[in-house]
Subunit: 267 residues, 2 copies
Amino acid sequence: MTKDFLVQQIREKKSYLCVGLDTDLTLIPKHLQHLPNAIVTFNKAIIDATKDYCVSYKINTAFYESLGIKGWEAMEETLHYIPNTHFKIADAKRGDIGNTSLRYAKTFFETLPFDAVTVAPYMGEDSIRPFLEYENKFTIVLGLTSNKGANDFELLKTGDTFLYEKVLSTVATWGTPNNLMFVAGATQASEFKNIRSIIPDYFMLIPGVGFQGGSLSEVSKNAMNKEVGILVNASRAIIYAGSNDLYAEDAKLIAMEYQTEMSSYLV
Amino acid sequence: MTKDFLVQQIREKKSYLCVGLDTDLTLIPKHLQHLPNAIVTFNKAIIDATKDYCVSYKINTAFYESLGIKGWEAMEETLHYIPNTHFKIADAKRGDIGNTSLRYAKTFFETLPFDAVTVAPYMGEDSIRPFLEYENKFTIVLGLTSNKGANDFELLKTGDTFLYEKVLSTVATWGTPNNLMFVAGATQASEFKNIRSIIPDYFMLIPGVGFQGGSLSEVSKNAMNKEVGILVNASRAIIYAGSNDLYAEDAKLIAMEYQTEMSSYLV
């Protein structure tokens, strides 16, 4: 997918919502849990219910890998079910020496037809470059994350700047807004203006709106750019909105709420 | 596996060699490439040939993931073939918010019976804690890596120390030598004395001896502690030592060379 197509989808749907498919067999409705294909059945219903209100789906690979081969099969089947109008993110947090990152890029951009993959920056340029070589694919590098542990290293000072600021400004020189985005955590809404000033033209993937806290209004106000430039993710708040037969309907209602609020921030 | 058992194996075999199974279908001998189970056939032959000279195998997950489900099947079959006397490392470089790291820990410590998994530190304490909860399992956190990209962030100054030094000293307080190790890259041999002084009691997993450069003699001299405290990995230098019918025999010879040299550094 190209950035222009993504922006067009956002404008048409008046939504920059990404739905996170962090699907856990023990958290889906009880009446589905016994099905042989429970996770895929659940995911398909969630996708059907929410696709009109979101522009992206994010598959958290850990939830699928933890089930072994059956999990990878479920991930594949889910991925192929997502409409091609939607930006498909593998939330995989990969990154290794160049020779190995090359294989991770192949995993998520060739073997699995994702549009984007999240990548950890610790190992530096040659760990990120192989992902950037793919045309119309996006590498989403961790900048500031929304968890408590962000304080341990991301918010260390390196000279005059925080480590995460240095990561943003450095990695931004390795790609363009057409192949690179950044993860920017939503619990530090006050930081968004600053982040936007460091990476004015890049899309941000913003997790942490929903059960992790964070205000959609503040995030939108401070992080948007002229191409919208943000995808806001909600996972548990949407997919586990309901716990009985009406789970898909409940997920739809929450996704609609997000979309309605988002439409009011889009000019 | 416990640390004591690992140390005992090292003493008995006079080897601290880890063989990296970075198996690439296009690099294994031509006469195997057409087999339906080529990677597993190759890996089993390599394991049979090298197991007397090494104490550990490291499976680089990227090489298997990039083949999709067939790759995960090959990883599983390879893993189950490794003798239980050998320390089994998933070189996966995982790490995410706690709720997600929990699933990665489950992937590599329950679904797949690895003894250890490599983890990236960028996201801080709650991204690492879930791995440390497992008894007799090891979290191997990236400290200093052996690639050029280490200069981008790992070697940034944070106050008086490099970022990687801060990672070592901070993460060391979250675990013990019985559940935590560190990756320490072998191309910066001069740094090993310093690293050892920061983490005197922890095992280091040292990649980069072999095709990535690095001197086994220098590494051993500077990085060992009283419990040996190092695992030195070689991947391509061993598994691709030969390219014809004798590939396993050639791998054995190189593994033997490593073991012979290592035995001379063990007192």
